[in-house]
């Protein structure tokens, strides 16, 4: 069954990426913010040199949902925009390609931040 196989691939690949990053969390002093920045930049680089797209073709959401996929989306958007509009595409393509995710994070984040109260942490 292809759906099951797709989900297994996504599970294994996405899980593997997370497990590798966990090594950096445990063994280095990198803060979560730095890790996220590294992942998104790595994703742009991998997307730029063309290795991330085949990776997404294979693993689907296992490759696109981790933040490296977000970076690859930026690179992909830029490439498309440069193809269509020339140099100005370098400025317009990235955010256009990832606009949905960013706007959703801002909108839902704002909305739920108003609705809920912060929970005390132990």
């Amino acid at each position: 069954m292809s759906l099951l196989w797709d989900m297994v691939k996504a599970f294994l690949v996405g899980g593997a990426i997370c497990a590798v990053v966990q090594i950096f969390i445990d063994k280095t002093a990198l803060t979560p913010a730095r890790i996220l920045v590294c992942l998104v930049t790595l994703g742009v680089v991998l997307g730029a040199i063309g290795v991330y797209k085949p990776f997404i073709d294979f693993a689907g959401c296992g490759a696109s949902v981790p933040l490296t996929g977000f970076g690859a989306t930026l690179a992909e958007g830029v490439r498309k925009a440069v193809d269509e509009r020339g140099l100005i595409g370098a400025l317009t393509g990235g955010l256009a390609g990832s606009a949905g995710g960013i706007a959703a994070a801002i909108f839902f984040g704002y909305f739920f931040a108003l609705v809920f109260r912060s929970k005390p942490r132990d």
């Binding site: 996405g14 445990d26 890790i35 920045v37 730029a48 981790p66 977000f70 990235g94 931040a113």
Partner: protein
């Protein structure tokens, strides 16, 4: 007591509990894998109900971001993140959580400088570095097209 920085660092390292790397990696693998597998299922579901693939590609991260924001608001996300580690940080859920968490915590500072500004304390750098590297790539890509 007079200790220099190095000695203190060593002391802290020796007293800190050894982080069980294998267990942490396993938990990150399972939770991160589960989030990605769920996203994949969602992707196929959206395609199944005849939504265009181009739209689905945006709709899936949007749905995940919605769920991550909601569960952060409910306080569920943090309890999960505590043991999931990279498992919830690395998927887009981590980005989403990074947007809403500081906004929730500093709500008391007001809607503009509290919620509005604090949303970007962690996610801001992510967007900044993502955009900068993608612009650099775009310029290189354009130059290659012009010169080659």
């Amino acid at each position: 007591m007079n200790v220099d920085k190095q000695t203190y660092k060593k002391y802290v390292a020796s007293r800190a509990p050894a982080s069980p790397l294998v267990k942490d990696m396993f938990l990150a693998f399972v939770t991160g894998g589960a989030i990605c597998a769920f996203a994949e299922g969602l992707y196929n579901f959206y395609l199944f109900i005849k939504i265009e693939e181009e739209t689905v590609r945006t709709l899936v991260p949007v749905t995940i971001v919605f769920l991550a924001s909601l569960s952060t608001g409910l306080g569920v996300f943090d309890s999960l993140a505590k043991f999931a580690g990279a498992g919830t940080l690395v998927p887009i859920t981590g980005f989403s959580n990074a947007v809403i968490s500081p906004a929730l915590d500093d709500k008391s500072e007001g809607l503009v400088m509290g919620v509005g500004a604090k949303m970007f304390t962690i996610s801001g750098p992510v967007i900044v570095y993502g955009v900068i590297s993608s612009v650099i790539y775009g310029v290189i890509y354009w130059l290659m097209g012009v010169l080659l």
